[in-house]
Symmetry: C2
Subunit: 280 residues, 2 copies
DNA sequence: GACCAACGGTTCAATATTGTCACCATCGGC
DNA sequence: GCCGATGGTGACAATATTGAACCGTTGGTC
């Protein structure tokens, strides 16, 4: 009886811990600072960064000083603002040498754009959105143009929904806790409706988004996978909505599935059955 | 008298602090872990990493867990080994959007290789060596081939010496404190001799290295500069030593200087006079 | 199949680091 | 010369980090 209750409470503790335990708060804070540097705001002053990250100025500065020792942060000597350093170039190269995802994604996207004759793009999970790592527009008149520096919000893009569908529910919860931007008048910003979309994507193995991020554009996306079966990112085709037909969608679906399989196997991941079956 | 001695001790304290004060040890440790991932050893187990970084296993693991929360570290689910995550792809893109050093370096290296008709390469400062960010071999028979994934050790390459020459002396001291590898039978590994080379490079504005990193290869390098006047990295030309002549070296020197100037201005840096005068 | 060594992973009291907050110096507008 | 903003700093209480010792597994050896 006593033993039982002890085991129970231990299990419960462990469970809670897995959910909320955050070792190394300091590291979390440091990494949290980095996410505020974006293509649209690449340099940030001390006070503003502290405000953004919800940290004390002194703390923020100490972290920045430490990061700059390792070339991860640089300071503009004139404005005193901070920006990302060259250290990331190095680590991105090492990462790419290990897992050549950018190279594979480029190849795959080129192929996908060619066979579908529409714009294709691939993305990986970033801190609060997906980041485009490869894109290609086909050579013809009306195509969807992509800004590769613009983050793809989870809730408003086909890629984002597809990514969330094959990841830990906690990732989705975190995504829905953010401010959900309205990019077109049709962008779905109701968390419950988005959860339904994610559930549908999980069942179908893909997601088709219309007008959600850009007007008059439909995107069809599937995730590609890590070795543990979770989504690592997404690959998608974007078409002008006027061109959308059942036939085209079927074709794109099959090709995107093949592209997902290609990237997944190249990075040593395991394909989810729901995606796999779409290749047929 | 009292005031004087107080000021003195405060100044002394401040001086010592600047030398040894390391705020945010935790951040230092976390960043220190990252440097052990290299193209040749991209996945590292917990115990080995702890040994390499000279940290406790428990500490190491807590840091890794925190980093992986932010996509900076991934774990191979089968071998349990850790590797760099996709987060760096994102930050490298942001950094590149801010300071397009890779793009500029590629252009410049292409040009430099064409006008000199020899192999050209550019590098940025990494944690313990320079990292190649761009390289180009000319189209002809005998040229020097470069492995772009191999780090360029500070002490054994023209680029490394040129970089150290225009940076804080403390960077050089740190570099010389490392194990100084012997890559050819001519590699200089005596710290004092290396210091002399660095001093010469500082006076000349460039450095010519022969047989130091690869046999039968001569490299001529100059730094390019940050906004604060310190070296950010180096640009170099490598030629087979059999082709080396006073005439060729003069030509290369002038062209490398132009290349350094181009990169420096593109990233908003200030060119050091010693390098500038070599363009004439 | 029993031993061993090495691995990944975890715990909790002891301890070192960090956050807080009040503070300075400087800048630009008014 | 004041105001409110900025970047930056220091002392000490509050808190997060540490590390020896501890599991439970795995894989090799005899």
């Amino acid at each position: 009886m006593v033993a039982l209750s002890t085991n129970l409470s231990q299990d419960f503790y462990k469970h809670v811990k897995e959910l909320i335990f955050r070792p190394m708060k300091t590291v979390d804070k440091a990494m949290g600072l980095l996410r505020h540097f974006t293509p649209t705001q690449p340099e940030i002053g001390l006070s503003e960064l502290a405000r953004l990250a919800d940290l004390d100025k002194a703390t923020t500065r100490r972290i920045l000083v430490s990061l700059s020792k390792h070339h991860f942060i640089e300071q503009n000597q004139i404005t005193k603002a901070y920006r990302l350093g060259s250290g990331f170039l190095h680590l991105a190269r090492v990462r790419e040498a290990t897992t050549p995802i950018t190279a594979i994604a480029n190849q795959t996207v080129d192929w996908l754009s060619e066979v579908t004759n529409e714009t294709a793009h691939a993305s990986v999970a970033g801190p609060s959105a997906l980041i485009t790592i490869a894109h290609k527009e086909p050579h013809r008149g009306t195509v969807v143009m992509i800004d590769p520096t613009e983050p793809l919000p989870f809730h408003a893009t086909a890629s984002g929904i597809a990514y969330l569908a094959f990841n830990d529910p906690e990732v989705m919860n975190a995504a829905l806790r953010q401010q959900l931007g309205k990019y077109t008048e049709f962008t779905e910003t109701n968390p419950d409706a988005i959860r339904q979309r994610v559930a549908k994507a999980k069942a179908d193995g893909f997601f088709l988004n219309e007008h959600g991020f850009e007007s008059d554009v439909a995107g069809l996306a599937m995730p590609y996978f890590n070795a543990d079966g979770s989504a690592a990112g997404a690959i998608a085709v974007a078409m002008p909505i006027t061109r959308k037909s059942e036939e085209l969608v079927t074709k794109i679906k099959r090709n995107v599935a093949a592209a997902s399989a290609r990237i997944t196997t190249a990075i040593g991941g395991v394909l989810h059955p729901n995606v796999q079956q779409l290749m047929r």
